[in-house]
Structures are given as structure tokens and as C-alpha cells.
Subunit: 116 residues, 2 copies
Amino acid sequence: MTDWPKTYYACIFTNQRSEQGRDLYPMMSDRMVELAKTQPGFLGVESVRGDDEIGITVSYWETREAIAAWGRHGEHMIAKRHGREEFYLWFQLRIAKVEETRSFNIDQLDEAVSGD
Amino acid sequence: MTDWPKTYYACIFTNQRSEQGRDLYPMMSDRMVELAKTQPGFLGVESVRGDDEIGITVSYWETREAIAAWGRHGEHMIAKRHGREEFYLWFQLRIAKVEETRSFNIDQLDEAVSGD
């Protein structure tokens, strides 16, 4: 966290899983996180899913252009198509410019926050 | 969602619950959500907690000033103090300006998204 830029972008992805794809979804989700981490401009990701299958994943990027480029990545485009067709009942995606950060007892947020 | 402004602010609160306050925390958390909903400039809230006690709560506000005013609310200040002293192992709070929104199968996000 200490070397993050002063301002950066958050991609807030709120969603609810469907009953479909119980076998495929975890693999796809893990693969997307691993792939995102290798993209230019990637800063970090936080992801939580509750018992009701509602999830929030927030990924952080240096620029909006980095988010757009990730959106055009071939494997990501395939995953997004399956997301609409199978994995999600609904989702909401918001792109937001982070202007202020405060933390408490944070050393390594990326390591502390769970995968999906 | 349809009458939300074109740009607005997100308050992204990522945290991990401690072992303390298992009886008090749900009451405090519910009270904060109910109180936030009555504040000027409040738009909506999404909140998910996973099995590992990590949670992400994103609240949405018309302006940064509305977020700041909510931060100075008396009951909220008490809750924040107990949050640092008891309820949370760590947290990260980010304030971000939402610039772009995309959704899929969303009608009433506020009703669809669970409480904490």
C-alpha cells in the first residue's frame, strides 16, 4: 500500500451469483484474479462473497485506461460473456477515482484480503 | 437507481472483524445503516461479509461534503471509536468519485443487496 499513487481508480463490481456454473465459476474467478494481477496498471484487489451469494469485488488500477485495457483482454472478454450468460443473476460495475484513503492497522492489505 | 446523479461518491470500507463484540456489533452495524439512510445526500449502500470475517461495505453519496457530515454525526463517531477499539482488526476507507456505471439485470439494487 505504501507505494500506491496518491490518486488511482477503483472498479467496484457488485453482483449476485446464479445457481449455474458451480464447478466452473471458482476456476474462472481465480484465473481472472491471477490474470488481472499481471496487467499493466494493476494495484490490488479485494473480494468478498456472503452466504446469500452476493459479492463485492473491488479492484484498483493506476488509470482508467488500464481498466479499459483489462476489459478488452481476450480471456477477460470470454469470462464476462459467461458471467452474463451463466454466472451472475445481476451485477453493477462502477468506475471511481479514489481521492482519499484512511486506514487502521493496515500493513499488507493485499495479503490480508481474501479471494472470492 | 434510475434517479441517481450522473456522478456521485463512493465510500469503500474494507475491514476485518475481531473476535470482540459479537453481541453488540450486529446492533451497532444495523443502527449505522439505518441512520446513514436518513442522512442528507445518502444514495445507497452495499455490504457483504464473508466466512473469514472480512467485509466490504460501499456506501454512495451525492457529494464528499455529505460523507464528511456523516463522519461527524454523533452516533457515528461513537460507533467509529468502538470500531477501532473493539470491532475491527483493521480497516481501509477510501473515498472515490464514481465516473461511470454499467449494470446487468439491475432494477432495484438497494433491495437486492444484503445488510451486514
